[in-house]
């Protein structure tokens, strides 16, 4: 039972991070119908921006406790801003020119951007793993044998706040309304006077910022990062979005948690080797049984 609870705690922590990243996939897919393969790399770059921001703010590996919470907040915001800028750049330079093109063209472009960032990352940041600064000093609590840390609690709390904030943004603001209009029918939205380019840019900026937040939390949780970390994490987050029902914010959050818990349980009860495989088993299962995802609705193609 203790093992189970421990895996559940770990799973929810990782799952919260996946959820944050999944939001970006789901938003972009909802609006553009594009799998933004580069999103995992935006997450990776965001994490690195966080590292450099922490160092710039005077973080010392020897004295992590000297790094104040307000500074940690600045690190997070810097990472989010950096990632948002990267997201905007990608959209402007790579995706906008192929927006009207066949799906396959856009898909290959996205794969290309993903590879480009990944390999540029290796050149710029170096291929070796880097340890993430402990900008929040870890405190360990023992709750009846289950290890809970303040970092884990913080991760889940931040993720909840951001998901709720996004949900409010999408359903309570004009920007959100415009996004939903775009995802419903871009042509009609344009005719209604919605500045399509601007809304798409906002979608990328917000999604990317959330991925960077996920990156900082991932860094805190795993304390390690490398330029290729975006591949697997990005893939899992995408799967989370699909499992939850792509285009659906709550679905992405649910999918993230589900994937996180499933992989921790697999690691705990089966073997750590199959941790990554379970994600795809889940994906295939869900797509075969419920192609629109758990919370998604089927949208039939008009014939």
């Amino acid at each position: 039972m203790v093992t189970f609870l421990q895996q559940l705690v770990n799973g929810l922590t990782v799952g919260a991070i996946y959820a944050l990243i999944a939001l970006g996939y789901t938003m972009v897919y909802g609006v553009l119908g594009l799998i933004n393969f580069a999103h995992g790399e935006v997450f990776m770059v965001g994490t690195y921006v966080g590292i450099y921001a922490a160092l710039a703010l005077g973080y010392e590996a020897m004295r992590p406790e000297a790094f104040g919470p307000h500074q940690a907040l600045v690190v997070m915001l810097a990472a989010m801003a950096g990632a948002a800028m990267l997201g905007l750049t990608i959209e402007r330079l790579a995706y906008r020119p192929v927006r009207g093109a066949p799906r396959l063209t856009a898909l290959i472009t996205a794969i290309g951007v993903s590879l480009l960032l990944q390999n540029l990352g290796m050149l710029v940041f170096g291929a070796d793993p880097e340890s993430f600064p402990r900008i929040v000093v870890e405190r360990v609590y023992d709750v009846g044998g289950v290890v809970v840390t303040n970092v884990k609690l913080l991760i889940v709390a931040i993720a909840i706040v951001l998901v709720v904030a996004l949900e409010l943004l999408v359903h309570r603001t004009w920007t959100g309304k415009a996004m939903r209009a775009l995802s419903f029918n871009m042509g009609a939205a344009r005719l209604m006077g919605i500045a399509v380019d601007r809304v798409i840019a906002q979608t990328f900026a917000i999604g990317s910022a959330l991925a960077a937040a996920g990156g900082i939390l991932f860094g805190l949780d795993q304390s390690k990062c490398d330029p290729q970390m975006g591949v697997l994490v990005g893939l899992k987050a995408f799967v989370a979005a699909v499992v939850g029902g792509i285009g659906n914010i709550r679905g992405a959050a649910l999918g993230g948690l589900l994937i996180g818990v499933a992989e921790q349980m697999t690691a705990g009860y089966l073997s750590a080797d199959y941790r990554d495989a379970i994600t795809f088993v889940l994906l295939i299962g869900v797509l075969l049984l419920r192609p629109a995802g758990l919370l998604g609705t089927v949208r039939q193609e008009k014939v």
């Binding site: 898909l107 472009t109 290309g112 590879l115 390999n119 050149l123 697997l232 799967v239 795809f280 295939i284």
Partner: protein
Amino acid sequence: MSRWLRRGAIALLVVALCWGLDRLFEAFLVEYAVRIVIFCGLNAILAVGLNLINGTTGQFSIGHAGFMAVGAYGGAYTVVQLETWLGPSLTALPTFAQQAVALTSGVLVGATVAAIAGFLVGVPSLRLRGDYLAIVTLGFGEIIRLLFNNSETFGGATGYSGGRPLGLTTYTSFFWVALWAVIVVTVVAHLTRSSYGRALRAIREDEIAAEAVGLPTTRLKVMAFVVSAAAAGIAGALFAHLQSAVRPDDFKLDRSVDMIVMIIVGGLGSVTGAVLGGIFVAVTLELFRQWAEYRLVAYALLLVVLMIVRPQGLLGTRELDLAAVGRWWRARRTGGAS
């Protein structure tokens, strides 16, 4: 019957040509350059196979490195078993006969197991919308690699060398690669220039219309996927016997990316374009070996720029043959004259 006689003659001619080229390369090229031409052939097999599903059928797979791995491990395992079983009666044969027996069995088994893997992956994934397929194949490709990485039978991360200090026997020569390349190109070309080819292109362009004219779209997609996985398996088995061990790291995502670059440079849907793309990748890979870390950056940039500037690739869906070269030449001359 004259039809089969004529074909037999062509086959003999092809074999003779491959053999002649093989001798020529061995005699006049340094070992390093021979390796490049061998990789040109391997890449042609990979690209032409992948193009059948990604280009002609429009179902985008980015996990074909996984099928290449299955073919490589399956082929190597078969050959090692065969060598143990036949023992001295195999080594007593002349070199060419050894290659013929061992490599051919390896390639056939490699193709078969890769085709089976392709079927198992294809059946669930090909019911999905095109862009989900990309992700699912990527995932399967990674899973396949991880399975080999964790398999004790296949040596885990250090790779499979048949449990022998000297490792696998290097049977693969230009001759065999060229021969299999001709076979794969012929099979794929015959498929694409037939009722099947029309059906697959119809699926790529409009699945609803394809269904409405009676095409069993899922079955056809699975078929194309299986054939293309088998081609990757053939390349894998040949690749395995080029070196002393098969390593999981040879089948990382980079390998799938190389394949995608091949078919996109050559033109999605063009058989000859895929061959040219394969040669392009093999040559640039070697030319820029010392700047290896920039290679993938350059490839990625190439993909993005090509998609924006010329999404159909260099040849598009056109084929490059003598007639096309003739047309181009005439057009150029009349264009120059007027």
